[in-house]
């Protein structure tokens, strides 16, 4: 089976240690987590993990079952690349000087649909949301002007359907209360 990009989503309680409990499932099988994001979900009090991996589907299925088996996990599932709408957020810090020598940087920022978050005396911070290739493209164009600092968030993704797993989580919560 071919390895491919998957997004694993888990709806969980927001408890200390659960992050570790979930990541050791990957460690045990020597699977590299490419990115991992936790946040609130659409349901109050329910947390959400978004984990990006490149693996075979068979292994991802097994891992998802192990995640869902954890006591504090309500529901887990996985999506192929085309089954999600996904984004990453990138921040680029460049010297303010690069703005004062012509309009080039402003043009690049505009063309990439990025924006200035802050302009300070010494540096500016540019923000860009998009696919990996898009944040990378902006990086490549800004690089000649000197990037003092760069950071990219983990992948966040929602299912490409009216409702994702959250609907099942709601049913689960309604059923027991």
């Amino acid at each position: 089976m071919e390895k491919q990009e998957f997004t694993i989503t888990a709806y969980t309680e927001n408890h200390v240690g659960l992050l570790h409990r979930i990541t050791i499932i990957f460690t045990k099988r020597k699977i590299n987590i490419e990115s991992l994001t936790t946040s609130e979900s659409e349901t109050e009090g329910i947390h959400r993990f978004t984990i990006a991996v490149t693996e075979t589907e068979e292994l991802v299925q097994k891992v998802v079952k192990q995640i869902e088996k954890q006591v504090e996990v309500l529901k887990a599932g996985y999506y192929k690349k085309k089954e999600v709408v996904q984004q990453e957020l990138a921040l680029y810090k460049i010297p303010t000087d690069s703005l004062t020598n012509g309009l080039e940087v402003e043009r690049i920022v505009r063309e990439h649909n990025a924006r200035f978050l802050t302009i300070e005396k010494d540096f500016v911070v540019i923000e860009k949301a998009g696919y990996r290739r898009e944040t990378k493209a902006l990086f490549d164009e800004l690089e000649p002007y000197g990037i003092n600092e760069f950071v990219r968030s983990g992948r966040i993704a929602v299912a490409r359907e009216a409702f994702g797993l959250g609907k099942e989580v709601e049913k689960l919560l309604a059923g027991v209360s």
């Binding site: 969980t12 240690g17 050791i24 079952k65 088996k69 006591v71 919560l173 027991v176």
Partner: protein
């Protein structure tokens, strides 16, 4: 020792059903509420308040002082496996907690319900590398079903209620609750309610009747159906439903080592043991059945051998409580998720009465070959050298198969499990998944205290026995009637067997120059005997079984005997070797 935090609540008006207790007192009261009358453990600095609170309840909550925390954890396992109740063990922080890890890992892989309570350094010192501080939550996470650190006394009731519920429900497993010392001292308004559900946790999947129908259809049309049963039958208390099912359908049934004793060994449809050292027919015919019905078992690699050569011709039905086990190792055609008792109850209604005499005869033919090549010689050796099998045969004769067998890990474990006769369920206690040497003696102590009305015999080898033999002191102190049978071959026998067969007889670090085990047992004030010759064996075993109390019997067996049949590592089940 740090300062004690002031109680958070002061003079608030109390609800009528609460009372003011310390965290430590609450722990003890909760154990009593959960029906715990016996706990295993070892005190130390960070758990002292709980031990102090137990002092006032000695008549209701008996504490067994193990001689090592690992022993306490295995004893709790043995107690749980024999009694069907949750085993409890206590330990202090740091080394006390880390010594529990092997027991937790064993309980995790063998689905044994235990609750471990560890003391922790005061919450203000967490992360400061305080004396005897260790991150037991982090360390135990991969080997627990759930764990939780308590830093405030008022968390104790909920945490422990959840711990007991999670440990025993669904697919059981170990839970660890770590309680900081300040939380043990802190006073709070105590109120306890048992836990019956956790919103994020599905105890057991709801039975899907269409899956049961699909399974029944496959079974009703099968020509050579074959049942594999595991511990799930025992954990679901589904022994009767299981027997009804195979008797109605006439399907031959083979057991995993964890399923052993769920069905009496003499049952005409019990065709024997699966796996690496299992019986010939059950392994060979796995690759000839047309429908394979796995009940409460998880297709461990020791059962399946090489998966690419495992039951490829068969349609597979899997009755299983844990969804993560479906398709984990063997692809399933029909997965019946749920508790084995409920699933079997529904399945019995839909299957047709049948018999498979010709198919069953195939197993009997295989048995005949195995008898001639292996079993006869093992049970009735023609040489002067004593065999492990003949010792087990005589024990069967003396107990009538009514005893609880607790084994350690290695050759003696395989021989004891292969040849012991069982008439009652929950009678085989062994470290199946983890293969923990040193498990046997402390687990037998736990079993004997959990089922004081039954004869508990632990069969150990000279290797594993030396890993936890200090628990003889606990046996002496508790007067537990544990009968210890040491099958001494002066080798780490199973490793030596592999060295002989697969490593050119290069016996690297497997020969044991042993101490005098007789003197050791005597040092622990346990009656003892040693047999080196056959003519003394039967009377010695008679004395061993009938003695009212703990007893230590050492039998010198063949140094280089091997356990056969064997499915060599990496081979398919049909490549099982009889010699």
């Amino acid at each position: 020792m740090g300062t004690v935090e002031a109680p958070e609540q002061t003079s608030k008006s109390k609800a009528s059903n609460t009372e003011r207790l310390t965290g430590a007192e609450a722990v003890v009261r909760i154990l009593l509420e959960e029906g715990v009358d016996l706990a295993f453990g070892y005190p130390g600095g960070a758990i002292m308040p709980v031990y102090d609170a137990m002092y006032d309840f000695q008549d209701q909550l008996h504490h067994v002082l193990a001689r090592h925390e690992q022993g306490a954890s295995h004893a709790a396992q043995g107690y749980a496996r024999a009694s069907g109740k949750v085993g409890v063990c206590l330990a202090t922080s740091g080394p006390g907690a880390t010594n529990l890890i092997t027991g937790l890992a064993d309980a995790q892989i063998d689905s044994t319900p235990i609750v471990c309570i560890t003391g922790q350094v005061p919450s203000a010192l967490l992360g400061s590398d305080a004396f005897q501080e260790t991150d037991v939550i982090g360390i135990s996470m991969p080997v627990t079903k759930w764990n939780y650190q308590v830093t405030k006394a008022e968390e104790i009731p909920d945490a422990l209620a959840k711990a007991f519920y999670i440990a025993r429900s669904g697919r059981p497993g170990p839970v660890l609750i770590d309680i900081t010392k300040d939380a043990q001292f802190q006073e709070f308004d105590f109120e306890y309610k048992k836990c019956t559900f956790v919103r994020s946790y599905i105890e057991k999947p709801a039975l899907d009747i269409t899956k049961v129908e699909e399974a029944a259809e496959l079974i009703n049309t099968a020509k050579r159906p074959y049942v594999l049963f595991g511990q799930g039958v025992i954990l679901a208390q589904a022994e009767k439903e299981f027997k009804d099912f195979i008797e109605k359908t006439g399907i031959p049934a083979a057991w995993t080592i964890m399923g052993l004793s769920a069905l009496e060994t003499d049952h005409p449809l019990n065709v024997g043991m699966l796996g690496m050292h299992g019986n010939y027919g059950p392994n060979l015919l796995t690759n000839e059945c047309d429908v394979l019905i796995a009940i409460g078992m998880r297709f461990d690699d020791r059962v399946t051998g090489n998966l690419s050569k495992y039951a490829k011709q068969a349609r597979v039905i899997h009755l299983e409580i844990d969804p993560a086990e479906i398709d984990k190792n063997v692809k399933t055609d029909v997965a019946v998720l749920g508790d084995a008792k409920e699933s079997l109850t529904e399945l019995i209604k839909l299957v047709k009465p049948n018999s498979h005499e010709e198919w069953l005869q195939r197993f009997r033919d295989c048995d005949k070959q195995e008898w001639e090549k292996v079993i006869d010689e093992e049970l009735h050796p023609k040489t002067d050298i004593l065999s492990m099998g003949e010792v087990i045969r005589i024990i069967n004769d003396k107990t009538g198969g009514d005893h609880i067998l607790v084994t350690d890990v290695g050759q003696h474990q395989m021989v004891a499990c292969r040849y012991t006769k069982f008439t009652r369920s929950k009678s085989n206690i062994t470290s199946g998944g983890l293969g923990t040497m040193g498990f046997g003696l402390p687990a037998a102590l736990g079993a004997a205290l959990g089922k004081p009305d039954r004869t508990v015999i632990t069969v150990v080898g000279d290797g594993g026995f030396q890993m936890t033999l200090q628990e003889l002191a606990t046996i002496y102190q508790t007067k537990a009637k544990v009968k210890v049978l040491l099958l001494n071959n002066e080798f780490l026998g199973m490793v030596r067997q592999w060295q002989q067969l697969f490593f050119d007889k290069r016996y690297s670090s497997t020969e044991m120059i042993n101490p005098d085990f007789q003197t050791i047992a005597k040092g622990f004030y346990i009656p003892t005997n040693k047999v080196t010759e056959r003519d003394k064996l039967e009377s010695a075993i008679e004395e061993f079984v009938n003695h009212d109390g703990a007893y230590f019997l050492e039998v010198m067996v063949g140094k280089e005997n091997n356990v056969f049949p064997m499915v060599p590592s990496g081979s398919g089940v049909a490549e099982i070797r009889l010699e």
